[in-house]
């Protein structure tokens, strides 16, 4: 779909032509063309794995395409390795990622000029630096004092400083990756003001986001990616949300569903009026025995906060959580584990596995006492227990004591799920259990989840890949801005209606 430009076209800032990029087993980009012009704000959308990140990495020089070319401000990128990112930065490409990269112990001004502090004869000139910093902040319509330490700033202010930082040294193209995911509504206004100042200064902005109301306020056109291709570029003013969803999902290939119709028995977990200000305002739901309940919602919708509060990782101050009729609202994480809640974290490497220990020890770590005789761990009991889980969950490992760090991502995830099966948990909270695992492992994990539900376990399944939810969930609750806005039950769960409810 070609965009018809109404005014005289501004000069091109960046162009990608015929770009192709292979990763082992994946075609991340397939003959992609992309252009952006001076002063334009372009939204970039697509499901996880659609190729957005790879496209951004091409523009910042972090990735070299297998085929095709990337041109910034008329000059083609030629280098490789870090040389290429330096080249792209010199030509004016700047990116702001979700993880903030400020040094909190330093002042705003020091952060803005990090590593390029103005100095005379080796001595830093603080006055000059603060003066330039104040000017830069003013260009974005910000009135922050550049002498303030970043540690004293709110998350939103930090995000704005991060954007101010890309203003240093004549940027031509600024890429913002889901910049509002951690911001509240009022703070989003400040961010938009800054983005408009960038555009008014002739800077091209690529704005990665899936919040349609934001995109409508800030972007002129939206490019939608799907399966490594550009599915289409539409004028935001002309396009309705349904069309954008259609571009994101493509025309329905039949999905493999593991769920016939919603099932489930008595309520095992009951949550009432649970609030975690400011991200989550009073939500209630029941999780039934043998049920797989999905939480859908965009980044920042409150789903992380909800899961952490149920699991007991954050203290619940407002609302109640009942497990099997027993009030566990005030119970610590450890007490919840003992009463039958098991949680798998979204970042498997950082919070999930102990990489140097074997599959067996990673499994029994949730309850050593079950494999101990008089306080002494019995090697044969541990082998039996771990072997049982390895068979039931289908973990592929050469030995039961193979260090978990050496297994594939999918098998690591199975270990993290398996340890709760071993511990006999009744309620499993699975946070992004398929993140970063290959397609085959994904379908195995879906099958494991259904099997566990059939055995009577109750499961909360959180995924940012919306199309996963209809495959495994009996029921899906949609979170938006800290509230449940809609509920879907199998067999009536459809990816497109789910996505429409989230956006």
């Amino acid at each position: 779909m070609q965009t018809a430009r109404k005014q005289d076209p501004q000069p091109l800032v960046a162009a990608v032509r015929g770009a192709t990029k292979h990763y082992p087993g994946v075609l991340a980009l397939d003959d992609v063309d992309f252009e952006i012009r001076r002063g334009e704000v372009r939204a970039l959308l697509g499901k996880n794995g659609a190729g957005k990140s790879t496209l951004i990495r091409l523009l910042t020089g972090a990735t070299v395409p297998d085929g095709g070319e990337v041109t910034i401000d008329g000059a083609a990128l030629t280098g490789s390795g870090t040389q290429r990112t330096v080249e792209a930065a010199r030509l004016g490409v700047r990116a702001v990622y979700q993880e903030l990269s400020l040094i909190v112990g330093m002042s705003i001004a020091e952060n803005l000029f990090l590593g390029r502090w103005p100095s005379s004869m080796g001595v830093l000139s603080h006055g000059e630096m603060e003066h330039q910093a104040r000017e830069t902040l003013a260009r974005l319509g910000l009135t922050l004092d550049p002498r303030r330490r970043v540690a004293t700033l709110s998350p939103a202010e930090r995000q704005l400083v991060e954007i101010a930082r890309v203003m240093i040294g004549e940027p031509k193209l600024v890429i913002l990756d889901e910049p509002t995911s951690s911001l509240a509504a009022a703070e989003v206004k400040l961010l938009f003001k800054a983005v408009r100042s960038l555009a008014a200064a002739g800077i091209a902005v690529i704005y990665v986001s899936h919040r349609m109301n934001e995109i409508r306020q800030i972007a002129q056109a939206a490019t939608v990616m799907r399966d490594g291709k550009v599915a289409g570029t539409v004028e935001v003013a002309d396009a309705d949300t349904a069309e954008i969803i259609r571009l994101m999902l493509g025309r329905g290939e039949q999905e493999d569903r593991l769920v016939g119709e919603a099932r489930g028995g008595d309520a095992v977990l009951s949550v009432r009026d649970l609030a975690v200000p400011p991200k989550l305002s009073g939500v209630s739901f029941d999780l039934k025995r043998g049920e797989v309940l999905g939480f859908a919602g965009l980044l920042g919708s409150g789903r992380t906060e909800l899961l952490r509060a149920i699991g007991g990782l954050d203290t619940v101050r407002v609302g109640t959580v009942l497990l099997g009729g027993k009030d566990i609202t005030r119970a610590s994480y450890g007490e919840r584990v003992k009463s039958g809640i098991g949680m798998t974290p979204e970042s498997r490497k950082e919070d999930g596995i102990v990489p140097l220990l074997g599959v067996d020890e990673n499994t029994v770590a949730t309850d050593f006492s079950k494999v101990a005789v008089n306080g002494v761990i019995s090697a044969s009991r541990m082998a039996d227990a771990a072997g049982d889980i390895i068979r039931r969950i289908g973990i592929k490992t050469a030995r039961i004591d193979t260090p978990v760090g050496t297994l594939s991502g999918g098998n690591q995830q199975k270990v993290v799920i398996g340890r709760w099966v071993y511990a006999g948990s009744r309620v499993l909270l699975l946070d992004e259990p398929t993140r970063g695992v290959d397609v085959e492992a994904k379908s195995q994990i879906y099958a494991i989840i259904r099997q566990l539900a059939a055995e009577g376990k109750s499961i909360i399944f959180v995924s940012s890949e919306i199309e996963e939810l209809p495959k495994v969930c009996d029921r899906v609750l949609v979170l938006k801005d800290g509230n449940f806005v809609q509920e879907f039950s199998a067999p009536g769960i459809e990816t497109d209606t789910l996505m429409a409810a989230c956006l």
């Binding site: 994480y333 450890g334 584990v337 003992k338 949680m343 974290p345 950082e350 919070d351 999930g352 596995i353 102990v354 990489p355 140097l356 220990l357 074997g358 067996d360 020890e361 770590a365 949730t366 309850d367 050593f368 006492s369 101990a372 306080g375 002494v376 761990i377 090697a379 541990m382 082998a383 039996d384 072997g387 390895i390 068979r391 039931r392 969950i393 289908g394 973990i395 592929k396 490992t397 050469a398 030995r399 039961i400 004591d401 260090p403 760090g405 050496t406 340890r419 511990a423 195995q444």
Partner: protein
């Protein structure tokens, strides 16, 4: 869902040798026979007893410090802890406190001080280096302050004489060392407490999410370390026949060096008691051999420094090679 998995464990045997430990045994043999061939008196029976006694003074504290380093923490307070408990014990014996009671009280003091440092780490997030550095300074100061830097003598005591002497021809302290070696090896390999220490050191977040009480583990390892340092203090007091504020100076560095030479990673998650045992003997052999050779005592320190760094460097190179094989990085 079929998986062909060997239902058998490789790393669970108590004393399985790995490459680093084999390397250390080679180093030990070279040192032993090297000094044996070139140094008069090195191979004498008396010198062997002396080697065992020296090893015990490092090793008893080193068992607990091995656990601490596996958990990703550090304890630099060992030397002053030994001195302080030795002074406390001597004062109690001087005041005619029953010897068993006095020894128990000394161990309890060590345990309490260790618990204090561990609690600072576990509940207040004070880095363990800082918490134990504080103890290091305060306890040494306390020992000198209370004794005016003079030895604290006490009446002869039959029980302490047994501790200072030999049993079955072997120094009692060496027997204590070996018994504790067996206990610590067992605990670290075969109990939930021991395996939790490895899990905490390997990935504290993951351990916490498994329901392991990470804070309690962090306190307990320092309690253990305090008790072991106090026990070393008791044995030292028995051997010297008095409490000395300046004793065990620099012992913490011998202990940490022995643990690290033994292949326990300062980053946590990996280590073994057997490695520490070998590390203790490397340190003891070097010290003993250099003394017997009559090397200038100041230069001995230089040689020791070089050998310690060389041994750890070799250990890191071995580990890197092994990780490249296991993780393919």
């Amino acid at each position: 869902m079929s998986a062909t998995t060997t239902n058998h464990r490789r790393g669970f045997r108590l004393f399985a040798l790995d490459m680093n430990e084999i390397g250390l045994i080679v180093i030990l043999l070279v040192l032993y026979f090297g000094f044996g061939a070139t140094t008069n008196g090195f191979l004498s029976a008396n010198n062997h007893l002396s080697l065992l006694r020296d090893a015990a003074s490092i090793a008893i504290a080193a068992w607990a410090v091995t656990l601490i380093i596996i958990a990703g923490e550090i304890d630099v307070s060992v030397g002053p802890m030994v001195a302080f408990t030795s002074v406390c014990l001597a004062f109690m014996l001087k005041a005619d406190v029953n010897v068993a009671l006095a020894i128990l009280a000394a161990l309890a003091i060590g345990g309490a001080l260790g618990t204090f440092a561990g609690s600072l780490r576990a509940y207040f997030g004070v880095p363990s280096f800082v918490a134990t550095l504080g103890l290091w300074s305060a306890l040494r100061g306390m020992s000198f302050f209370t004794t005016n830097a003079l030895p604290v003598t006490f009446p002869d005591n039959a029980f302490l004489d047994i501790l200072a002497d030999n049993m079955f021809g072997i120094p009692t302290s060496a027997i204590v060392m070996l018994v504790l070696f067996a206990i610590f090896s067992f605990v670290s390999q075969k109990t939930a407490y021991g395996r939790s220490i490895f899990a905490v050191g390997g990935n504290a977040n993951a351990a916490e999410l498994c329901g392991i009480n990470v804070a309690r583990i962090r306190v307990l390892i320092f309690t253990t370390s305090g008790v072991m340092a106090a026990l070393a203090g008791v044995l030292l007091t028995a051997r010297l026949g008095s409490g000395n504020a300046g004793t065990a100076s620099g012992l913490e560095f011998d202990v940490i060096a022995a643990v690290v030479i033994g292949g326990t990673a300062l980053s946590g998650g990996r280590g073994s008691m057997l490695g520490t045992l070998l590390g203790v003997f490397v340190i003891t052999l070097i010290g003993n051999g250099l003394v017997l050779r009559g090397i200038n005592p100041f230069f001995q320190e230089v040689v020791r420094g070089v050998i310690i760094v060389a041994a750890v460097l070799a250990n890191i190179l071995v580990t890197r090679y092994r990780e490249r094989r296991i993780f393919g990085v």
